[in-house]
């Protein structure tokens, strides 16, 4: 009893597992973001008219903007629910540094929101008339992009934690920060459609992810610590 047997990795896995268990139990909430993504994407052909040429040109942008908005949906509850029922204290006392707790929650957000978005992006892209050969570029970009969105979103959610009207502040914080991901992600698909080289865009997206991966959990950890004081 002098010190707990679990190592840091085991603790991280335990926190991640707890979040995945919670998401599985509330499957309707978890799937809501994906359904929102598909529905919002399906509205564009209705609003813009069924011209295949127009839709094909706009498809990368539509898919990316819808993914960005859909990833925002569950962020409000990511840490908010933990703060309300006192679980945040338990998480802060789980023996992991605060940034590691934040990273575990962010990873859970990606697995439960980003990954399903990725799966739903292919049918949505096809529906909007994206040529099949450009789909791998779209999915590769979205794979990196959804991770960036989870990281940025998790950071913002932790920072606004405990603030009045945090739910309104959250998109105002995330959306401007996410613009580089949006630009490069959509540009890669555009380039692939035009037969140009799409590697530079995805590399820049990867660089953005490489920057966000250490920075966002650190900022999120500071936010969590401030909220739990």
């Amino acid at each position: 009893m002098s010190g707990r047997p679990a190592g840091a990795v085991a603790r991280f896995r335990a926190v991640l597992g707890r979040d995945l268990r919670l998401s599985a139990r509330h499957a309707a909430d978890t799937l809501a973001a994906t359904l929102f993504f598909l529905l919002a994407g399906a509205l564009f052909p209705l609003a813009l008219g069924p011209s295949p040429e127009l839709l094909r040109r706009m498809a990368p942008g539509i898919v990316w903007v819808c993914a960005l908005l859909a990833a925002l949906l569950p962020l409000d509850r990511l840490f908010g629910a933990e703060l309300e029922d006192g679980s945040l204290d338990q998480l802060m006392l789980c023996g992991l540094p605060a940034p590691a707790v934040a990273l575990a929650k962010i990873a859970a957000h990606w697995l439960c929101t980003g990954l399903p978005l990725l799966l739903a992006a292919a049918p949505l892209g096809l529906m909007l008339g994206l040529p099949v050969p450009t789909l791998p570029v779209l999915l590769a970009g979205l794979g990196l992009g959804t991770m960036v969105l989870s990281l940025l979103g998790g950071m913002a959610a932790a920072i606004v934690l405990g603030a009045r009207r945090g739910g309104v502040l959250l998109p105002l914080l995330v959306l401007p920060l996410a613009t580089p991901a949006l630009i490069f992600g959509a540009a890669a698909v555009d380039a692939a459609q035009a037969g140009l080289d799409w590697h530079p865009d995805l590399l820049l997206l990867g660089a953005f992810l490489a920057g966000a991966l250490p920075a966002c959990p650190l900022a999120a950890g500071a936010g969590l610590r401030a909220a739990s004081e």
Partner: protein, 210 residues
């Protein structure tokens, strides 16, 4: 607990000197000293807003100190907050149970962290029969007992309990007394805040904000 049985008087394991904590503009605690050795218990009393919960959170390392030092075994707690977190089981005024998860699932994280046996901890508080029930179906007292079972499950030497008897009936209070006695007999420390008194024989009493 594998702590050696030391002859009395045991040296203080938890030691705080000159603690001061500001909440906003208000000085909640000032110049507070305390010491607690193996098997020791400390009861925090005082009116609402006297800083009992704040002191417990400060001892947990959740709330930064504005002055003073907090030592565990002679070492500064804030030098390694993650290690200190591993020594602590904190019971807040909220039960921190997820309503959608069963009682057992709610305790899985604590079991993974502490390596304890969920069934044994639930049984101590008479909850074993309810283990498969979603937490939202439990009564307030049962939820409190579940939160106490989590404290036990964490297997930590220092228990920080904020109003642990909230909503407990007499039988549950007796169970709590037995668990606390076992924990102390094994060398564990208890710091508890209460209004109503707790089954903690020969505990030091610290009256705050009098």
């Amino acid at each position: 607990m594998t702590l050696p049985a030391e002859p009395a008087p045991s040296p203080p394991l938890l030691q705080a000197t000159g603690l001061a904590i500001l909440r906003g503009e208000r000085l909640v605690l000032a110049g507070l000293d305390l010491e607690l050795g193996r098997g020791g218990a400390l009861l925090l009393t005082g009116p609402n807003g006297a800083g009992k919960s704040t002191l417990l959170r400060a001892l947990a390392g959740l709330c930064p100190l504005d002055a003073g030092r907090l030592l565990w075994n002679g070492l500064d707690v804030f030098a390694d907050p993650a290690a200190h977190a591993g020594r602590i089981a904190h019971l807040g005024h909220q039960d921190a149970l997820k309503p959608g998860l069963t009682l057992r699932e709610n305790l899985l994280l604590a079991a993974a962290l502490g390596g304890g046996d969920i069934a044994a901890s639930l049984d101590l508080f008479g909850l074993l029969a309810l283990a498969g029930l979603p937490a939202r179906l439990l009564s307030a007292g049962q939820r409190r007992r579940a939160a106490l079972a989590r404290v036990h499950l964490l297997g930590a030497p220092l228990w920080l309990l904020d109003e642990p008897s909230l909503g407990l009936d007499h039988a549950a209070l007796d169970r709590l007394g037995a668990v606390l006695a076992t924990h102390r007999a094994a060398g564990g420390l208890v710091v508890a805040a209460t209004h109503v008194g707790l089954p903690l024989p020969d505990a030091f009493v610290l009256r705050l904000g009098a």
